[in-house]
């Protein structure tokens, strides 16, 4: 049944050079500047005076080959067959002939592919697999992202936000992708300790690895059962033990949900990269449209749009006004969950008498 032919290995990826349009080959490394044409459309100008237009469309990342073939057709029709993807799941059509841009944009939009996501806009939401294809997801990825992007659609299409806005999603604490350094990050979380299937652990798991996988030292060997025990007081529900041992299930449909972090960034612009910080410890899973999550994120976006100065990323705005003020402005409760009690907590405590009084506390 299996083909006896074995392919050549270690050939590496196709050479990018063969994928580049002529205008890029001609101006490679010699671009002079770029400017915005309109939201979703960029113009790069080379030292030679050559122009390159980029039309960016948002995608849900999960794409059928039918759609990919259609993108290829569009690239043939307008771009001599050239396109690229971005690190945030956008598709970019690359063309030298600026007169074709409007027709290209119209055709993409007419087929339901939104052009946008450049400059001071909401960027496409990066996310993980979720319930479609992952074993450890505490919430769905594509579903939550679709609900949030439907609600914030206009912010993707326009570019008049205070600064760029990057929202990211991870469906468990493994955080595939850079969600922990985003303007707004929402993350699937578990809230109960794993259940232990002693037989499964005994037969299928390497106990020293399981013990070592726990960041809080909550797991101890249970020699009698050839299994492990979990100290309920120490477990912080990260699920790492489940990653190394399938018999420690952490799935809990009733109590799993989503936490929201804000104020992170990855670029070195102005201030260096920053982690996002916890603002909402828990929102329940509400498929199919996650109404509470969508409302919470809309509130977080709107208070930033209303209060930030021009040019201020989410975290820069909060740093200016102070976190104590942020919780007041956002009208969010501040709880014990917001104060770090993990490995590097102490440097996050306020060691000065300088703070603002707010009417909450």
């Amino acid at each position: 049944m299996t083909n006896p032919y074995y392919a050549k290995t270690d050939i590496g990826p196709p050479n990018f050079w063969n994928m580049l349009p002529q205008v890029i080959k001609d101006n490679y490394g010699n671009w002079l500047y770029h400017e915005k044409v309109k939201p979703g459309v960029l113009k790069h100008v080379g030292e030679t005076g050559d122009e390159l237009f980029t039309v960016r469309v948002g995608s849900p990342r999960l794409l059928s080959i039918e759609t990919l073939r259609w993108f290829a057709d569009i690239a043939d029709k307008y771009c001599d067959g050239h396109l690229r993807f971005t690190s945030r799941h956008n598709v970019e059509f690359l063309l030298a002939d600026g007169t074709k841009v409007d027709a290209l944009v119209d055709e993409l939009e007419a087929a339901g592919w939104p052009v946008g996501g450049t400059g001071k806009s909401l960027k496409n939401l990066i996310h993980t697999q979720g319930w479609i294809h992952c074993h450890s997801a505490a919430t769905d990825a594509s579903g939550t992202v679709k609900a949030v992007m439907d609600d914030l659609y206009d912010y993707f299409k326009k570019d008049d936000l205070p600064a760029k806005l990057k929202i990211s999603m991870a469906c468990c604490l493994n955080m595939c992708g850079a969600v922990h350094c985003s303007d707004i990050a929402f993350v699937g979380v578990h809230r109960k300790i794993p259940t232990i299937d002693d037989n499964g652990v005994a037969n299928g798991c390497e106990i020293p690895n399981v013990v070592a996988s726990c960041p809080t030292g909550a797991i101890r060997p249970n020699p009698k059962a050839k299994s492990v025990t979990i100290n309920e007081e120490k477990c912080m529900y990260c699920g790492n033990c489940y990653s190394v041992c399938p018999s420690l299930s952490i799935m809990d449909p009733e109590n799993d949900g989503i936490a929201i972090f804000v104020g992170g960034k990855v670029s070195n612009t102005r201030k260096g990269p920053e982690f996002s910080k916890l603002v909402i410890p828990f929102i329940p899973n509400e498929p199919p449209r996650w109404d509470s999550l969508v409302a919470a994120i809309r509130n977080l976006v709107e208070i930033w749009v209303k209060n930030a100065k021009k040019g201020e990323r989410y975290g820069e705005w909060i740093e200016r006004i102070g976190w104590e003020k942020f919780f007041e402005v956002a009208n969010l409760p501040f709880t014990d969950k917001h104060i770090d009690d993990f490995t590097f907590s102490v440097p996050t405590f306020r060691t000065t008498t300088q703070f603002k009084f707010t009417d909450k506390k």
């Binding site: 679709k146 659609y153 604490l173 922990h180 996988s213 990260c238 670029s267 102005r270 982690f275």
Partner: protein, 415 residues
Amino acid sequence: MTEKKRPLLDELKKGKWPSFVTEMEKSAETKPVVNSLLNLLERSFEEKRVHWKHGGIVGVRGYGGGVIGRYCDLPEEYPEIAEFHTIRVNQPSGWFYDSKAIRTLCDVWEKHGSGLTNMHGATGDAILLGTTTPHLQDCFNDLSDAGFDLGGSGSNLRTPSACCGPARCEYACFDTLDLCHNITNSYQDELHRPMWPYKFKIKISGCPNDCTSSIARADLSIIGTWRDSIRVNQEAVAEYVDNGLPIKSAVLDYCPTKCISFDKEKKEMNIDNENCTRCMHCISVMPKALRVGKEKGATLLLGGKATIVQSAFLSWVIKPFIKLDKEDNYAELKEIMEKIWEWWDENAKVRERVGELIYRKGMGEFLKATDLEPVPQMVHHPRTNPYFFWYPEDFAAEKEAKDANKEVAGSEVSE
């Protein structure tokens, strides 16, 4: 097959943002297996839980990575997707494609899998989502015949990725695409055959804007920078100002080191480049007027990772400036990378990322093992505690210095 109703997923076909459910239904028209996947997903939406199990060990001949085994936990009810493995296909540098390459991928995946893809996964690979074990080798054969190779998975070098770099960006301080292609091809063995303590990710950004988010999510971040001065086109500066750019509030006030001044009368911008930390803000606001310097290279940072296990780390500086030279095949960078890998491979525990190993062992040991020189650019500030190690070689060096001094002193006396 009877069509099942999927009222929950139908809700996600509504709204303006492109719908993944619609994408899946497009595939389902020719691939019945996707109908099963949709039905299982509807069930997940009803029950608020996943129905996938951990990956099993499946793969293609000669490789230990590139395929993620995936099994449904309800194989009797959903036999079509009892096995639904993922294939990671190494993307071309910068995610540039032509329509022929896209169609080739589609044709192979139509023949061997579900027709569903992710363009792309977080690490950078093109993801082919869902096939069965008997198809894996044939799919790889066809991919390889068409010029594609698999990406990394498991405890190996993960598929490196790069920003669009010199192909479409005036900020690029080196050839990100060439470097990514070169590294990927130079370390094919490390990429395809898991032999390390854990994963190792490399991300390459051409300038400090770091469009691959490398500091947040790569073990090794290679980020373009320059050592000399920002190039200023004063005519273009004046043009920005004449066109209404509020240069003080939009540019000067945001400069982190306040090293820019603006002469209102001459409409000239002056940058004290010695105090510039190359944050990119001014250049990003005024790309027509300001350009990165000419003496270009990269900063290397190491150790970035997400939360599990100890905490999330951002990569930190291990080499403030390195020339990335195509002509010598990036020899200096590769020497550093190989020393890092050797030390990590020898010292790390199972599933310990290089940043966690440095946290456990200390930067001192790391720097010695890799022959990297300690410099103040590596830290926000020096240590604040009086606990530090002294080594025999420190005392030997002291003694040597003392003896040399004595000799000098002695010779002075004898004169």
